[in-house]
Amino acid sequence: MVSDISLQLNPFANQGGILAQIISALMYLSFILFIFFGQKIQLRMMLWEIDGTVKKLEFMRTEAKNLSLKTIKDIGKPKDDPTPTLNSLLEQFLLTPVEMDPAGIVWKLDHILDVRDAKFKDDVRRIAPEADEARLNNLENLVEASLALNTIYRVVKHFYLLGKKTSSFYVILQLQMILPIVMQEAEAILGATKAFSEGQPIGDGIGALIASKFMRGNEKRKVEKDIVVAETLIEGRRVIALKAEGPGGNVGKPGDAIRRIIEENEGKISMIVMVDAAMKFEGENSGDISEGIGAAIGGPGTEKYKIEQEALKYKIPVYAIIIKESTQDAYLPIKKEIVESADKVVERIKKLILERTKEGEALVVAGIGNTIGIAQ
């Protein structure tokens, strides 16, 4: 009976030759192999696929490092070879404060971030002594992008080798599941390195670009760390616009700046409008605009906390206008459709100002994001 079925399924069986018998045997053998070793075979295939990705990440990391090195040599004109210092910068890490007692953790983290930023900038300045302030900021961004790629490569390689060593299906499976998203981010960071090396504006800078449109032609002053402020009048309302100091790559500390402005005005600020790039959902268009409530600012959360604290203290409403972008758009040179949204956002802010404030009142417009390639 079984042999009858196999004869019907196998066209070679009728030929009766050795080849037909070998093929039949192979078919049964592969069936049995898949029953007993299916998961092992799947594991090997996944490892093979991850191995290719790890090699790709290694290539990307090397590309970013070489570009950093070339730019440092071109702009910074170091007397000694910057490679050892760059290698040490690419391995740098930050230890976050202990979370067991969360009271005061924001200020602890803020302090650690300040120390880290200062040290990082000093280290970059040491290997690029000839770079001016704006270019130094761009170089700092470039080295940070290389550091991010190096970290991604090291983490992915760690889990790949761990999965391989332990033959753990679940370690490998988890890694394989998140790899497409990790690779998207890595490719975007690699794209950003070119923008940072040449000082091109990136998608994340749209908030700074919009704020700069309010600041253009008005007297500017520097407040807090790397933040510039300018005042303008819109229909009798005093608009205090702020952004990170450009055109070098910079995000500054908008939280501290907003706190300072509120204190300078003795709390008499009628509203805060925050403009920032935000992650779009798949299917949405880059450059679409959305309005909301709350502090629109990313990062580790310290600046957001400061703004929320001040807003609560003086009961100031915080409005957010976001410009939708993908992760890649945020890292890569700014797209035309995102730039074109800037004037629309300016109009929306003006409308919001007229609707929500009265003549003679003061308000803050904060452009959040990396201001590389955007002056004020």
Binding site: P11, F12, Q15, G17, L19, A20, E198, G199, Q200, P201, L209, S212, R216, G246, P247, L332, P333, I334, K335, K336, I338, V339, G373, I374, A375, Q376
Partner: protein, 130 residues
Amino acid sequence: MERKPGETYLYLAVVFSLLVLAYSLWVLYSSISSYQEGQLENFYFGIIASFIGMGLAVSSLAATRKRILTIRSMASRTLTTILCGKCGFKMVRLFSVGDYIHKEIGKCQQCDGTMTITSIYAEEMKKKPR
């Protein structure tokens, strides 16, 4: 124009896939000849081998095509728009290192107004007109 190492790999993959496809077609032709000569074992073997080969070659070509399209769509150029604040004369050129938004870059060609960089943006490379 300088070719990137990744592109060389893609072209090699295309050439290899085409070679596999050509060989598979030859095996298919041979197997049909075997059928006409009554060698059924060779016919079946040839048919299976040629179909596997053709399938792999077509799949590889399709994957390579997808990759080439992705690379082409990623290619972009960055443009700088310069505007005269007085007469509105506008100029668009390729981005050059040192450009930044709101940078004043000199006098206008049409009037004595100041030319300022008003925007810098990336644009996808358009296909060359045929």
